[in-house]
Amino acid sequence: MQRVRLRYTKRGRLRFTSHRDFQRAFERALRRAEVPMAYSAGFTPHPKVSYANAAPTGTGSEAEYLEIALVQRRDPEQLRALLDACMPDGLDVVDAVEAHGSDFSDRLEASEWELRLARVEPETARAAAEAFLAAETVEVERRTKKGIRTFDARAAVLALGVSPAPGAPPGRSPGPGAGTVASRQDGADRPGEGGCAILRLVVRHVTPAVRPDDVLSGLRATADLAPPVPAAVTRLAQGPLDEESGAVTDPFAPDRDAVPEPTGTGVSSAGTVPGPTA
């Protein structure tokens, strides 16, 4: 059995896709692409797909991750291109590696987010961000299935600042996962140009999770920042946190760095099955 990890996006209008919607679309793409999936045992077998830490409905993402299990080996890049072609535009499969190790979800330590605040002056946003960071704790409320829950949104925030100029590529931390973001295509259908502040946010993954929405609630609480238009939120990266630089790094790095030919690592049948179709 081969395991392949994939990075995918939720771009433009398809950021309104819920995680369940994505799952159905992806499983149909697996069928269209005729991927030799491994299936779970049982009365109604399901293809083996594990999803990690999905972004909330309505937020865009450049860095969502999942892992699939195959019964025949495939070249990860060819598989990625095939699946990407089978998914609707906006749900794009952008990176693939063969999996090494089973600690993948542990690697997702932090996320980097972009929050576009239309009709908010960058200076206003900068002052609000500074007030937020200056606070010891920022209590926010979130409606959950069990009612209103109150928790601190401050501690998990590692960085919060205004990106240079609207429209320009956001100021980015280095890291292999960052390079492909340049091709974002959602600028055209954004509401209200004019004054637009772009916040960049780095959040550590903790429990309960602190989401961009919670930080926006915190900005309202600490600095009375109330964007007139809902913020357009996009996850730019998630992965291991470089504690020194504060950068979110590429979670696929350990897979890429692993021994390329995995002889004797549990994929012993590799030699007996046909290789990837050329």
């Binding site: 398809l14 679309a25 149909r28 299936y39 089978c86 209200g192 809902p230």
Partner: protein, 641 residues
């Protein structure tokens, strides 16, 4: 002149509404064509929520047929839920298409498909949100031509004031003909304005333009006559019929939504029309004659559709799927082909006989045998003769015995309440039938773990059927009759707990009945309900019987007719029915004779296997029923590994 997308304005509203994904489009196999390169542009609507409207085959077929045509463009729009409607009104966002988010008011044609009359208030909402005047007479050359289609359009009179045209029957060829007429009119510089293009459409004989017909009433409220008021406009408008389904293998690329919808499967229509002759069934009457898709045509559509969608289940659709002349070979061939691929096959709408169990077994070779559904429709032998549902209780018991013997554990039975001539006794026999089913099941399966669910709907008399003259049972009587049956089933100590009982109260049926057999005077009722906030009448949580009744009392005041007059009143042979000038191909005298046969409890066999009974359709269409067998088989597909 480019048309701007309203998406930027809409996008700001989406975070505040339920399930925003339903408004963003982007479905696999959806099409966005260049606005300026098209000279005829259609906005197609299914007037219900996206989750119900998206899987609709009619809209999907026409969307693809139109978009394949050079110079023609089609986009889709669905009813928006009240939460978004409110925000759209506050922020001045018009009704939009989900494909390119273009405003519906900018299209040439706004085509609305009515599978049921309960979408009429949603039509008014969509017109208003589009900025299109509600009444056709107030529209100008700048507004789209508002077109109604679908089964409910066979009596479009209740919405005659709000639509410009109605087209009845199969849409595939009709929409292309309409496109050509509009294209030519636009190319000539729109001579004569809106009136002229409507007149050109009317003169084809296949497009109904209500404004070109005057309705005159008798002092007692009945219709005196319906007369064309323009020269060249036909007395009767004929329906459209696609004669060779193999030439129209649509949808070729079924839409695959991101949002969850009511049918998470692909559908292939295996034949159109039905000649079983069930007297309550409007679909069976108005879609005649029977036209089969060939076994190879079906195989191709399933194969290509699965490749294009990735769906896990295929439904083989028709009005009575087991009646396809080669259904056995179709089922076996498909089951063979997809045995390894975890593709589920389903066969909705099947009749009660043992042959169906073989089919069902074939289609569930690997899967779980949970439930089978049959529709005896009537509880007593007598009432089944009235409705011409030719199945005896012995047939049914034999069939369920086979089913239970083959490992099926649950049987669901569909019935109707309120059928013509029905008495309490006819309905109470539904309970006896369920008991006999359970008893037989326990005997055959040697187990008490056997269930039978009885599901009952209220009968609504429909236009173009032998029951179009029949009185509808009042809501109170329906509820009383169903209450007696419920008490009988609940009171059965030995079997009652194995019988599930599901039914709806009689009130929605009365509103459906009012709209089904209504005339132009009902338009005012629909508008009154809409203006008082009526929306989504097909949804229990939105439907309000009291709103409909109080609106009807208000709107019909002074007309001398009321809700009872439209619903529970029996019509006579001489009465001019509101839809008589819409020609479904059926001979009205034949329908009347069949109505008399119903009252005499006389059955009429299926003309596929018995002689013709002169319903009138085939000679008028200059055709015959089109069935196989072709003698062909489905070959295994080459497996690419």
């Amino acid at each position: 002149m480019p048309v701007e997308s309203v998406f930027p304005q809409l996008e700001a509203l989406l975070p505040h509404v339920q399930k925003p994904i339903q408004y963003v489009g982007g479905e696999l196999n959806s099409t966005v064509k260049d606005w300026d390169a098209a000279d005829v542009r259609w906005a197609l609507m299914y007037p219900d929520a996206y989750e119900v409207g998206l899987p609709n085959q009619g809209v999907m077929i026409l969307y693809e047929v139109l978009n394949e045509r050079e110079g023609v463009l089609a986009e889709r729009t669905y009813s928006v839920w009240p939460d978004l409607e409110k925000l759209m009104r506050e922020h001045d966002v018009p009704q939009f298409t989900v494909d390119a988010h273009r405003p519906v008011g900018a299209f040439d044609v706004f085509g609305v498909s009515f599978a049921t009359e309960l979408g009429y208030t949603n039509l008014l909402t969509a017109l208003d949100l589009s900025g299109i005047p509600l009444e056709a007479k107030d529209r100008t050359e700048d507004h789209p031509i508002v077109m109604a289609g679908g089964h409910a359009a066979f009596n479009p009179e209740p919405i005659a004031d709000y639509i410009d045209v109605a087209v009845i029957g199969d849409g595939e060829q009709a929409v292309l003909e309409v496109s050509e007429i509009i294209r030519a009119w636009k190319a000539e510089g729109r001579p004569g304005g809106r009136d002229e293009v409507l007149l050109r459409l009317a003169r084809t004989g296949g497009v109904y333009v209500p404004r070109f017909y005057d309705v005159e009433y008798l002092p007692d409220g009945r219709i005196a006559r319906v007369v064309p008021n323009r020269s060249g406009v036909p007395w009767r408008v004929s329906k459209h019929t696609v004669m060779d389904l193999d030439e129209w293998p649509y949808p070729k690329q079924p839409l695959v939504p991101l949002a969850e919808t009511v049918h998470e499967r692909m559908s292939v229509e295996i034949f159109r029309g039905c000649t079983r002759g069930c007297r309550f069934c409007q679909a069976g009457m108005i879609t005649r004659p029977v036209r089969e898709r060939s076994i190879t045509g079906i195989g191709d559509m399933v194969d290509k559709g699965l490749k294009n969608t990735g769906f896990e289940e295929v439904g083989l659709l028709s009005l009575s799927s087991a009646d396809h002349s080669e259904i056995g070979d179709v089922a076996k061939g498909l089951a063979d082909r997809y045995e390894e691929d975890k593709v589920g096959l389903s066969l909705p709408s099947t009749r009660v006989d043992a042959f169906n169990i073989d089919l069902a077994n074939e289609l569930t070779r690997n899967g779980r045998r949970s439930g089978l559904t049959f529709a005896p429709e009537g509880g007593s032998e007598r009432i089944r003769k009235v409705i011409n549902k030719m199945v005896s209780e012995d047939d049914l018991i034999r069939t369920v015995a086979t089913a239970y013997g083959n490992g099926w554990r649950q049987v669901k039975l569909y019935f109707m309440c309120g059928l013509p001539t029905e008495t309490d006794e006819d309905v109470l026999q539904i309970g006896d039938m369920a008991v006999n089913v359970i008893a037989k099941g326990r005997e055959v399966a040697q187990s008490n773990d056997i269930r039978c669910t009885v599901s009952i709907g209220g009968f609504v008399p429909k236009p173009h059927t032998p029951f179009q003259w029949a009185p509808q049972l009042s809501a109170e009587e329906t509820d009383a009759r169903l209450g007696k049956l419920r008490d009988k089933i609940r009171g059965d100590k030995k079997y009652g707990r194995s019988i599930g009982f599901r039914y709806h109260d009689g009130k929605p049926g009365i509103v459906e009945g009012l709209l089904s057999r209504g005339d132009r005077r009902i338009g005012a009722v629909i508008r009154e309900v809409y203006e008082r906030g009526g929306r989504f009448d097909g949804w229990r949580e939105y439907f309000s019987y009291d709103l409909w009744m109080s609106s009807a009392a208000e709107a019909l005041d002074g007309t001398g007719v009321d809700v009872d007059w439209y619903t529970t009143r029996e019509r006579s042979y001489e009465e001019v029915l509101p839809w008589d000038h819409l020609d479904s191909g059926l001979d009205k005298d034949w329908l009347w004779e069949d109505w008399q046969d119903a009252l005499d409890e006389t059955e009429v066999p299926d003309c596929r296997w018995d002689p013709c009974f002169d319903c009138g359709v085939c000679p008028q269409m200059d055709t015959e029923i089109q069935i196989g067998p072709t003698g062909k088989k489905l070959l295994p597909l080459t497996v690419v590994k």
